[in-house]
Each structure stands twice: as structure tokens, then as C-alpha cells.
């Protein structure tokens, strides 16, 4: 097994024992990126120099016997949505092509404090809007298992870099499934924490009440290790919950006794690929063999999840993205062109309004524009009650479904997606088909509960299949332990895509 194929937990042990230096490990990943990323496109930027400098510094401190952080020397890839001081942060958008934040996101601060080595920025759908990473303004990311297919999204780069061994750990964000769905399609582990578990400060907002930062990794243990560093209260984020973050990595290997898992029969209804049904059914049997009790439960409002999500998320996005107006930072339409346009079409629109219009038409891609328009419409006078307010009511009912479920079972087990990775371009012309990719994942965001995706099988064509476990708010510790039980009993996570 090559160095980059080892788990982060194994690598950390080697670093701690002195058998491996962070410079060696970082260089190994930089070499791997050099070798394979041209066919995957997981990264937007690779920070070779600063990564090696950081690694050397950590090695020196460790060698000198000085205290080092929890992730000391482990490379981490960061989704290009988390602000990093003095480093470009584009959010996959032309709008922020030249934007350099003067501050760090709280999770970036935490990673630096834990002595993680920041390897580079991963690709994503523009402003995290999409399920295929085809909406990046820069280039699409491809699925390492089949480079004619999409890796999922919006954290497509974050999942693809793990699955192609280009990073041992990566940080993604999940608004409606953006960590779990690409993790499932790329065959890695991805966890969306409870809303409020991880600070959102410095996470470029898509939909503030749904966005949550989480870890992607090859193994459950690795995800536990990374979540331990990311989680915790932040006085800069009033929605972050003031509760201590447990040491997940210390308990992840303790199996749960008397585990009760809920199965929603509805999840296996119309439209789901039989290969996925079969893989998830087999995973349920694995849990039964491990002593878990299976209960059939109802989630009566789950069907309204996608519709509810596609009201609430665009509404918040329409407001969150209003700041990209060309005035203070980011892309601005060329002034001469603005004036020439106005002169040409003889409009009585003022130059300021035309500058706004042109900046936002040129700076945002079509999917972002579509969602801004959807949200603007749904919040408008006369539509607010019928759309936004109604969506909020359904959201409460969905949360109620979860509360009822968790009164009966410890976790809900089911699929992450209804299909394996689809072909590049397949759903580009059909936004509704793309939105249905979120069917099994959005409800966790709407309810604010935690969810994890982990590998549970492969299709005949060799595409990964993901298993989803969802737990009550702040039960990440149990969620990770339950996931680890499965991973200990199976070997899906050890398989690797063949990339030249």
C-alpha cells in the first residue's frame, strides 16, 4: 500500500512515531496531485510552496519536542468556499475570481491551530449550487471511478480528491446534501454535522439556515478525527451551539449496543436504482448481523423535502448573494461597456442600476442566477405567504417527523442517492432532474439533524454506492460509532479507483 493510500489515522501514527515527516507526506500528495489531477480536476488551486513550508515548520517543532496540534502534519484540502486570509477564495464563481479575504474562516483557524497542512482549494459548484460540480465557473470535476461521469456536488472536488488519494482529509459544506451525495458517488465518507455544531463564520453563505461545514475522508475514523477539530462553539457565529465538542476519535471504535435503526420504506419506492436498493438492503442486513434491531418508521412529510428546500434555500440565497453588486469587492462590469450599452439602447436606467445588472449577469453563472430569481420571486409581496411561509411550516413538520422517528429509533438508515454517478452533461438541461438528486439528503438540512454517507457497495459498472445514517441533533458521536461498526465489518472503503 502506498503512502497516500493509508488512512489519515495511520499516517498520523507514523508522523507521531517519527517514521514519517510531514514534508514527506505532503510531497507524496503533491506528487499524486501532479500525476492524476489533470484527469480529475478536483483542485482549483494547489498551494505547493505554503504547504511544504507549513509541513517543514511542523516537522521542526515536533523534532524539537515542542507541542503540536491534533492533526499535526496531516494534509487537508479545503473547499474553495471557506475564507482564508490573504489567499484567493472564489466560491467557484467568476464573481469572486480576484477576491482575497482579509480574514480566516473559524474552521480555517481551527485547522491551522491543529497544525493541519493546507494542501489546496477544491472545486465546487458555483456558490455551492449544484449536484455535479459542473457549475464551477472554472472547470468541471470528474469522478475518479469513471472520468466520463460527475463526482456529485457541490463538494465534488472535496470528495474526488479523497477518492483519488490526492488528500487524506478534506473539508466540505452541505446545504442540501453537498457533502453526502458526492461522498456517496465517489466512494468516500462524508459527514454533515448538526446545524450549529460547526461555526459558519467565514463560510461563504448559500443558505444560512441550512449550510453546515463537515469532514470528508476515506474512513469513518478519519472523519471523526477531522470533525473533532472542526466542531465547537464560536462567539462569531450566533447560530453555533454553545456545547462542548466530544473527542470523537477517542470513541469512534466503540461499537454501540442495542442499536435500533429505522427504515423508511418510502425510500425504496419509485425511481430508485435497483442496484442501490440491493446494496442498502445488504447494509441493513450487516447491521442486523451486528445485533442491531430494525424498525420500519414513517416520515410522512419527507416527500415535500425537495419542494420545501427549493423555496427556502433560494430565498436565503437571493438575499445572501445581494452583496455581490460590483460596488465593494469582487467582479465589476467594465464601466466603459456599461456607458456604451446605455447609450446604445437609449434606456433611462441609471448607470448604477445598469452596472448592478451587468455585473450580476456577467459574474454569476446560469444556475446561480436561476436560484436568485426563484428566491426573489418567492419572497416578493403577494407570494411570500404562499411560498416562503408555507415552506417554513412544512419545514417544521419535517423536523417533527424526525423528532417522532428519533423517539423510536437511534438512527435512520437508507440510501444517499437514488442513482449512482451520472454522465457529465446528462442533467444539465433539466434542472428538476438535478434537484431530485437531493431527495434523500435535503430533509436532514431542513431539520438540522446530522447525517453521514459511507461506502456500502458498487454497481456492476464499478460505481460506488453510499449508505446514509441520520441521527438526532448533536448525536454525531453515536453516528460515527455506528458507521464505524459497518466499516469494520466491510471492505468497501478499501477499494480504489484505477487512475493513471
Amino acid at each position: 500500500m502506498s503512502l497516500t493510500q493509508k488512512s489519515a489515522t495511520e499516517q498520523l501514527a507514523l508522523l507521531q512515531s517519527g517514521e514519517l515527516t510531514s514534508v514527506e507526506l505532503t510531497q507524496a500528495y503533491l506528487d499524486r496531485i501532479q500525476a492524476v489531477d489533470s484527469s480529475v480536476g478536483a483542485f482549483l488551486r494547489i498551494e505547493t510552496e505554503s504547504a511544504l513550508a507549513q509541513a517543514a515548520g511542523i516537522d521542526a517543532r515536533r523534532a524539537a519536542g515542542q507541542p503540536v496540534g491534533k492533526l499535526a502534519g496531516l494534509p487537508v484540502a479545503i473547499k474553495d468556499i471557506l475564507c482564508t486570509k490573504d489567499t484567493p477564495t472564489t466560491c467557484g464563481s467568476k464573481m469572486l475570481e480576484n477576491f482575497v479575504p482579509p480574514y480566516n474562516a473559524t474552521v480555517v483557524e481551527k485547522l491551522l491551530a491543529a497544525d493541519a497542512v493546507i494542501l489546496g482549494r477544491t472545486n465546487m459548484d458555483e456558490f455551492a449550487m449544484g449536484s455535479s460540480t459542473e457549475n464551477s465557473a472554472y472547470h468541471p470535476t470528474k469522478n475518479p471511478w469513471d472520468t466520463t461521469r460527475i463526482p456529485g456536488g457541490s463538494s465534488g472536488g472535496a470528495a474526488a480528491c479523497i477518492s483519488a488519494d490526492m488528500a487524506p482529509l478534506s473539508v466540505g459544506t452541505d446545504t442540501g446534501g453537498s457533502i453526502r451525495q458526492p461522498a456517496a458517488l465517489c466512494g468516500c465518507v462524508g459527514l454533515k454535522p448538526t446545524y450549529g455544531r460547526v461555526s459558519r463564520y467565514g463560510l461563504i453563505a448559500f443558505a444560512s439556515s441550512l449550510d453546515q461545514i463537515g469532514p470528508l475522508a476515506r474512513t469513518v475514523e478519519d472523519a471523526a478525527l477531522l470533525l473533532e477539530v472542526l466542531a465547537g462553539h464560536d462567539p462569531l457565529d450566533s447560530t453555533s451551539v454553545n456545547a462542548p465538542a466530544p473527542a470523537y476519535s477517542e470513541t469512534v471504535n466503540q461499537p454501540l449496543e442495542n442499536l435500533t435503526l429505522g427504515v423508511v420504506d418510502h425510500h425504496f419506492g419509485e425511481g430508485i436504482d435497483p442496484e442501490i436498493v440491493s446494496a442498502v438492503q445488504k447494509a441493513i442486513e450487516v447491521y442486523e448481523s451486528l445485533g442491531a434491531t430494525i424498525k420500519h418508521i414513517e416520515m410522512p412529510h419527507a416527500d415535500y423535502g425537495v419542494a420545501t428546500y427549493y423555496i427556502i434555500a433560494p430565498c436565503e440565497a437571493s438575499s445572501n448573494l445581494a452583496r455581490y453588486d460590483g460596488v465593494h469587492y469582487g467582479y465589476r462590469a467594465d464601466q466603459a461597456e456599461v456607458m456604451a450599452e446605455l447609450a446604445e439602447d437609449g434606456s433611462d436606467e441609471g448607470p448604477l442600476v445598469r452596472m448592478y445588472r451587468k455585473t450580476r449577469s456577467e459574474g454569476f453563472g446560469p444556475e446561480v442566477q436561476r436560484r436568485i430569481m426563484l428566491g426573489t420571486y418567492a419572497l416578493s409581496e403577494g407570494y411570500y405567504d404562499a411560498f416562503y411561509l408555507k415552506a417554513l411550516k412544512v419545514r417544521r413538520l419535517i423536523r417533527q417527523d424526525y423528532d417522532n422517528a428519533f423517539a423510536e429509533v437511534d438512527m435512520i438508515i437508507g440510501p444517499v442517492t437514488s442513482n449512482p454517478a451520472f454522465a457529465q452533461g446528462e442533467k444539465n438541461s433539466d434542472p428538476m432532474a438535478m434537484y431530485l438528486e437531493d431527495l434523500y439528503t435535503v430533509t436532514a438540512n431542513l431539520a438540522g439533524v446530522a447525517g453521514i454517507s459511507l461506502p456500502c457497495g458498487f454497481t456492476e459498472n464499478g460505481l460506488p454506492i453510499g449508505l446514509q445514517l441520520q441521527a438526532a441533533p448533536f448525536e454525531e458521536e453515536k453516528l460515527l460509532r455506528a458507521a464505524q461498526m459497518f466499516q469494520t465489518a466491510t471492505d468497501f472503503h478499501t477499494r480504489r479507483p484505477e487512475l493513471s
Partner: protein, 490 residues
């Protein structure tokens, strides 16, 4: 106003900058007057990924004000986003409060010192918190239409106080703003500087005009840019006349024209149309997902209430009922601010004569403050020192005209009343000596005696003048009284 052929209906929206060290949602300073964009951070610049955290001090200052305005405080309040594009609004929305404001349903009583209108209770619809926007500075004169933006003010906490349309004259509107300013000053919640913009107001104005076919209402106009009490009064008075003229010309009534926003041009003394509200944006208010709602307990509300202290209305009442001041004097003293009230209270207690203390504060003290353009804390004579002077008056040792001379010297020299009296050689004249002097004067002036006897009491004044020549220290009142007694007993 009563002779106008219409009634003016006015509601005011006052914006009060709350006196916090830092902004409403970040820790930047709120200080006024620093170089542009030096008091900013990722949060108030609206940079991607930045998040607001509520300044609790601002919330409690808002609550204190709302309680003083007799408003109810809901236990639950939340933040909403008001979405619109403007260059000095970096997030593209203002964080404000929409359907669940932090306070509602209060009132402020106003009355006129000059009897311009009957006392009135102006009801308050609500007072809510919001963040201020930045400032755009347009340099159109340069020919380049160059605009610059200063975001130092962005995020400063504002309390918006919305009144019912309860006012019926420009003078009432002006008095409402003055009374509000006084209240805010007593509460010490705002600098209340209209020039610097820490107290601003917009007025919604229309007319009710009686006609043969019943009363009609003119379209409502919102007036902005009134940066002084005087411009509030003049802006509204101008607008009333303008609306009447427009109605006479066009006959357009409420509902037939969109709501209009007009700006008061202080140099031209006119209002000018800024925009028709109908064209303005739909603000698409919705709850701000970045801020948690505020939940407050009865204990917290009572703790804030207990910090309020005595307010102008209560003080005026106390000064008239407990101190015997006329309602006019009480108004004058209270309207000058808490410091002068304290000065008066100390003076009254130390001198033992409430009425005399009131007269002196309203008269001599205020005259000096106005002449020298100073405040009471810059005034040279302390309440204790002035009390010593007043005691000399009540004991009869000084007459009021001499007392004023002494006062003037005290002011210049900083000496005590007793020292000045000594320096000026003012001595109390022995009563028997005074009587002897009066007897002598009566004897010398038979004509005055005749005049007084024939009913002209004023004639005795000639004797006072002579007495003063003989002895400058005599008390004219006493001379007058003694001489009259002697003459009447002849």
C-alpha cells in the same frame, strides 16, 4: 393653524443612534467624525462569510428608551432582512425588525410653552432596532460624477420610533421631536445631535380638507432631510401649503396618486420630489437566518426599568407641585436638561426658598448661560454659593437689586456672596438708624407728605432716592414701608 382651511395630519418616524461603544453586529467603533472607512471590519463591510453577532448593550438601550416611551416589551423579538440595493448598503440588505419589533404601543405627551397648541398625547406605534447604512458622497461638481462611500457609520445601532399620525400642526411635530430629544438626553441613550445625524426624522404628512361633499384627504407625502427642529417645523408647514395648492389645482385625493417621498431643501426652503414610492423596491422582508431571536425575561425588563430614573414629565410635575414653581418655570428648567434640574434642586434645598431659587435659575442663571453660550456645568457659581446669596435676600440683608450687583461680581471674581458684600461695603442698616433717617426725610419734605396724604403713594419714591444718597446701604423697600407708616400716622 385654526384659520387654515384644512387640518394637517402628521406622523413621525424618528431614527435615534444609540450610544454604544461598538456597532450593532460587530465590534467596530461607532465614533463620529473619523477618516472614511477606518471603522470597518469584514462584518460591517458585508464581506462573504462574515456573520453578525448582536450587541446586547444596544438591545438594552433600545428597551430603556421604549420603556420610557411607555411601550410594551414583547418577550420574543427577532431580526429581519430588508432587501434593497444601494451603494452604501454593503450586504444588499439592512438588518432590521419587521413583524415582531422589540417594543410597541407607547406614547409621548407634548405641550407648548407658548400655548401654540393644546397639550397632546402622541401615541407610538412601535420602536424597533436596526442597523444604520453608510454614507454616499457625490461629487457631481467635478464633472466626473464621482461618488465615494464611507462605511464608518454602517452598522451603527438605530432605534426607529414610529408615531401614530396624531399630530395636527408643524409646531406639534417640532415639539414632539424636542420632547423626544429631551427624553433621550435624560435617558442618556443617544447624543441626539441632529446635525451629526444621531437624531433624524422623517414625517408623513397629508391634509384633511372639509368640502361641501365631506372631508377629503390629500395623498400622503413622506418628507426627508429635515436636519434641525426648525426644518421639521418649516418643512411640514411648507408641505401643507404645497399640498393644499396642488389639491386646489388638480383635485387629486388620497389613493389617486402613489405615496411620494420629498426631500426638504433647507437653503431653498422647499420640499422637492425624490421618488414615487410605487416605483420603489419591494423589500422582501424575511427573518434573518444568521441571527438568533432575542428572548427576554420579566426580571431583565424590570432591571432595565429600574435604571430609567426621573423623566422630564415627572420632574415638571414635581417642580410645580412640590416646589411651587409655575408650570412655565418648571418647563424652562426641565427643558434645559437634567444638570440644570439638579442645580435647581440643590439651590432650593440649600437656600430654603424654592420659589426664589426657581426665579433665580430661570432668570439670572439662564440669562448668563444663554449670553455666554455655556452649560450649567461650566457655570462659575455653584448652587451652594448661589444659595448663600439667596439667603441674604430672604433674611432682608440684601434687596434684590443689590443682590444682582453682588451676583455680577461673584460671577467675575469667583468670590463668595459674603466676600462681595464686604468688598462693596454693603452693610445692613440698623433699624432704629433707618427709622431716624426716614423721620428726618419726612420732616424735610412736606410736599411729599401732602401728596401721599392726598392719595398719591408713589410720591414716596422721592424719599427713597434721598435716603440712598444719605446711606447707599438702605433697603429701598424698607425705606418705602417705614416712610409710608410715618406719614400715615401723622
Amino acid at each position: 393653524m385654526s384659520d387654515a382651511p384644512y387640518e394637517i395630519v402628521i406622523g413621525l418616524e424618528a431614527h435615534v443612534q444609540l450610544k454604544t461603544q461598538t456597532k450593532l453586529f460587530c465590534r467596530c467603533s461607532t465614533e463620529f467624525g473619523n477618516p472614511p472607512n477606518t471603522q470597518t471590519c469584514p462584518v460591517c463591510l458585508g464581506m462573504p462569510g462574515s456573520l453578525p453577532v448582536m450587541n446586547k448593550k444596544a438591545y438594552f438601550l433600545g428597551m430603556k428608551t421604549a420603556l420610557a416611551l411607555n411601550c410594551g416589551i414583547p418577550k420574543f423579538t427577532k431580526w429581519d432582512r430588508k432587501n434593497y440595493f444601494y451603494p452604501d448598503l454593503p450586504k444588499g440588505y439592512q438588518t432590521s425588525q419587521f413583524d415582531l419589533p422589540m417594543s410597541e404601543e407607547g406614547y409621548l405627551d407634548i405641550k407648548s410653552l407658548k400655548d401654540e397648541f393644546e397639550p397632546r398625547r402622541v401615541r407610538i406605534i412601535r420602536a424597533h432596532l436596526e442597523e444604520d447604512a453608510g454614507k454616499s458622497m457625490h461629487d457631481e461638481a467635478s464633472g466626473k460624477a464621482d461618488s465615494r462611500i464611507d462605511l464608518n457609520r454602517t452598522g451603527t445601532p438605530l432605534l426607529e420610533i414610529v408615531s401614530y399620525p396624531d399630530m395636527r400642526s408643524a409646531a406639534e411635530a417640532k415639539t414632539y421631536m424636542q420632547e423626544l430629544r429631551l427624553l433621550l438626553t435624560y435617558l442618556d441613550v443617544s447624543d441626539c445631535n441632529m446635525q451629526e445625524g444621531s437624531l433624524r426624522c422623517d414625517a408623513n404628512v397629508n391634509l384633511h380638507i372639509p368640502t361641501e361633499n365631506g372631508t377629503i384627504a390629500t395623498p400622503i407625502v413622506e418628507i426627508k432631510n429635515m436636519n434641525s427642529f426648525r426644518s421639521v417645523e418649516r418643512g411640514i408647514a411648507y408641505e401643507a401649503k404645497r399640498q393644499y395648492d396642488v389639491w386646489q389645482e388638480t383635485g387629486k385625493v388620497l389613493g389617486e396618486l402613489p405615496k411620494q417621498t420629498r426631500g426638504w431643501d433647507d437653503s431653498a426652503q422647499v420640499t422637492r420630489s425624490q421618488r414615487e414610492k410605487e416605483e420603489s423596491a419591494d423589500y422582501r422582508y424575511f427573518p434573518c437566518p444568521d441571527l438568533v431571536p432575542v428572548v427576554v425575561t420579566d426580571e431583565q425588563i424590570e432591571a432595565v426599568r429600574s435604571e430609567i430614573g426621573e423623566l422630564p414629565a415627572t420632574l415638571r410635575e414635581r417642580l410645580t407641585s412640590d416646589f411651587g414653581l409655575t408650570s412655565y418655570t418648571a418647563d424652562v428648567v426641565v427643558n434645559q436638561g437634567r444638570e440644570l434640574v439638579d442645580y435647581f434642586l440643590e439651590l432650593a434645598a440649600a437656600s430654603g426658598d424654592n420659589k426664589l431659587a426657581g426665579n433665580w435659575v430661570q432668570g439670572e442663571v439662564l440669562r448668563i448661560l444663554n449670553d455666554q453660550e455655556i452649560t450649567i456645568d461650566q457655570f462659575r457659581i455653584s448652587a451652594g454659593q448661589l444659595a448663600e446669596l439667596l439667603q441674604l435676600i430672604t433674611s432682608g440683608d440684601l434687596d434684590s437689586s443689590k443682590a444682582k450687583d453682588v451676583f455680577a461680581v461673584m460671577l467675575d471674581s469667583g468670590k463668595s456672596a459674603a466676600e462681595v458684600v464686604q468688598d462693596l461695603g454693603i452693610e445692613k442698616v440698623d433699624e432704629s438708624a433707618l427709622e431716624d433717617l426716614c423721620r428726618l426725610l419726612v420732616e424735610r419734605n412736606q410736599r411729599v407728605v401732602d401728596d401721599v396724604k392726598s392719595g398719591n403713594q408713589k410720591a414716596v419714591g422721592a424719599l427713597i432716592g434721598q435716603a440712598k444718597k444719605e446711606n447707599p446701604n438702605v433697603n429701598p423697600g424698607q425705606v418705602r414701608q417705614i416712610c409710608l407708616e410715618i406719614i400715615n400716622n401723622l
